[in-house]
């Protein structure tokens, strides 16, 4: 009886997901073993040929028409990108939440209202605007340098091409970090810390004041109070968001695609932008399917690790 009611409630969602989510995933696995391409799209076209694990092997051997394609380098960069972003977002978010939570801070509400702004702007707009901000000639970043430091020291026009500097800042294969990475990082830090700050503020305000009093009576200083009272209360609220933020940043399409276009030399390409290029630019549907299967397993492993991590640290205050 209960099961029948449950499935009545589930029916619409299951039907829709069966057709447009789960079936495509299964279909994708089949596609990954074929040479599905443009030639197979027409309704009168012959079915694609079975090629076995060829697509998978070609991806691992970097034998794909996308210029500068290097699977290991892209994966390493993608992991590094997500990891560094989330660390900075969380640390900045918590620090600024603490700043706004200082008792007696004037204009706190005004600052809170301003600091929420990056959260409410669609990421595609953030990405395209920051792309233009980093423009070597007309961008706001270089013009800011020109109209401050440049005027002060009478320097020639500063025209650093942030997004296309060919020489990487750091390069120990498989991790290659061009200047464009730091430009992307700057844009994403601008975009990412405020939501973390909102979450941290919520958690901070739920800490009972008595706890601080008790800690003070025990002679705890500011740092001790932060470690013993604040941090354990922040952790359960921040950790799920950090994990969620990690997955979101790992799959963040817009910044890489619109700001650097994956460049220079594909060094800021992510798994999602590569998947997009395989379909949109190369029309290699079979290879794209195999690539998506890789993506699935990479994300599966990441989810399992982050969940374990979450559980391990959750038991901290229990």
């Amino acid at each position: 009886m209960n099961t029948r009611t449950a499935y009545l409630f589930l029916l619409p969602a299951l039907l829709v997901m069966l057709v447009i989510t789960f079936y495509p995933l299964v279909y994708q696995v089949w596609m990954s073993f074929t040479d599905y391409g443009l030639k197979n799209l027409k309704s009168t076209a012959p079915p694609p040929n079975y090629v076995g694990f060829d697509n998978y092997i070609r991806i691992l051997n970097n034998d794909i028409v996308i210029p500068n394609f290097d699977f290991l380098r892209i994966l390493t960069f993608n992991l590094f990108w997500a990891f560094t972003n989330v660390i900075i977002h969380v640390v900045l978010g918590v620090a600024i939440a603490l700043l706004l939570n200082v008792k007696g801070l004037k204009f706190g509400r005004v600052y809170r209202a301003i600091f929420i702004l990056p959260v409410v702007i669609p990421p595609i707009i953030v990405a395209t605007v920051w792309r233009n901000m980093f423009d070597p000639q007309y961008g706001a970043i270089n013009q800011l340098v020109n109209s401050t430091v440049g005027i002060l020291f009478k320097l020639p026009p500063f025209t650093l091409d942030w997004l296309n500097q060919p020489n990487p800042i750091f390069s120990v294969y498989p991790l290659v970090l061009p200047l464009a990475y730091f430009a992307l990082l700057a844009a994403n830090v601008w975009l990412g810390w405020p939501l973390n700050s909102v979450v941290a503020t919520g958690a901070l305000q739920s800490i009972p004041g008595d706890l601080y009093e008790a800690a003070e009576m025990d002679g705890a200083g500011a740092w001790m109070k932060f470690r013993v009272v604040t941090l354990p209360h922040l952790r359960p609220a921040m950790l799920p968001y950090a994990i969620y933020g990690f997955v979101v940043t790992f799959n963040l399409f817009y910044l890489s695609y619109f700001m650097s276009g994956g460049g220079p030399f594909g060094q800021t390409e992510l798994l999602v932008t590569t998947a997009f290029r395989l379909v949109n630019e190369q029309h290699l549907y079979g290879v794209a399917a195999a690539f998506a299967v890789f993506q699935f397993f990479i994300l599966l492993v990441l989810t399992l690790i982050t969940n374990k991590l979450g559980k391990a640290t959750a038991s901290y205050d229990a």
Binding site: T21, P122, N132, Q295, L299
Partner: protein
Amino acid sequence: MTTPNAVAVSQPAARARTRSRGRGEPSLVRQILLQLLCLAIALTVLFPIAWVVSMSLDTTNTRPTGLNLMPAHPSLDAYRAVIAQPTENPVSFPQLALNSLFIAVFISVLSVAIGIMAAYAFSRMRFGGREFLMIAILAVLMLPPIATIAPLFVMLNKVVIGAFNLRNSLIGVSLAVLAGQLPFAVWNMKGYLDTIPKELEEAATVDGAGRVQAFIKIILPLSTPVIAVTGLFGFIAGWTEFYFSWTFLTNPDNFTLAMALNGMVGQYAGSTPWSSFAAFSILVALPVSVVYLLLQRYIVSGLTVGGVKG
């Protein structure tokens, strides 16, 4: 009877407690340092926004020749120009906006309507296959929507009725986006429903109301925050959708806002006046940003997807 009394007693007590907490008011030097820090952060947050707004009002140059956050002769010409025709394609802003609005409303309404029912079943009922289905939804939740772009393209492309090709249509794009948005909607709303006490419904069931009645009369009204946030996220996903529409659509009549935006940056930035780009960005962002700001207080309580519970 005791409740008003308790409140009356506890309020001054609470106030006294806050007053005695910490060192009280910060000293003047400390206050000034804090203000400087906050101001610096506020400036970095506001800088890109101020830059875009000023650029959109300054039509004297096609590209900004200096950092000028206060244009000398502000005008709304750029807005007029992009509303009439944003790109070289003969499509007006209202046409693009209408197409994006179609996708946005489609996803927002369907993901919430279908999702909340599934979320309710997962949150409140124990049934055969529950664990399996939840794991299946979690598994697709972590996949980026882009990961199914190849099979969706091929499959939707096969649905042809006369001259109508589902892949090359706004409905096709909407379905593709919904495929990624629905698992999020289900999981996010389930997380919220888990926090609503069961007793409320049980009381209703004792009064003779059925499951469906309890769902409509009790759960739905209590879920307003999560419905608002999930609906908003679906709307934003549709309103700014780029990769499916850019890959699927070939007919300019169907083009969306994000597709036009793509035609103004990157390799096309050289041929677009930056005032037009700025005005267009603001026109795209403003509606969703304003709604987002209005729903702000719901965001933390309504975004539960991070929490993974059984």
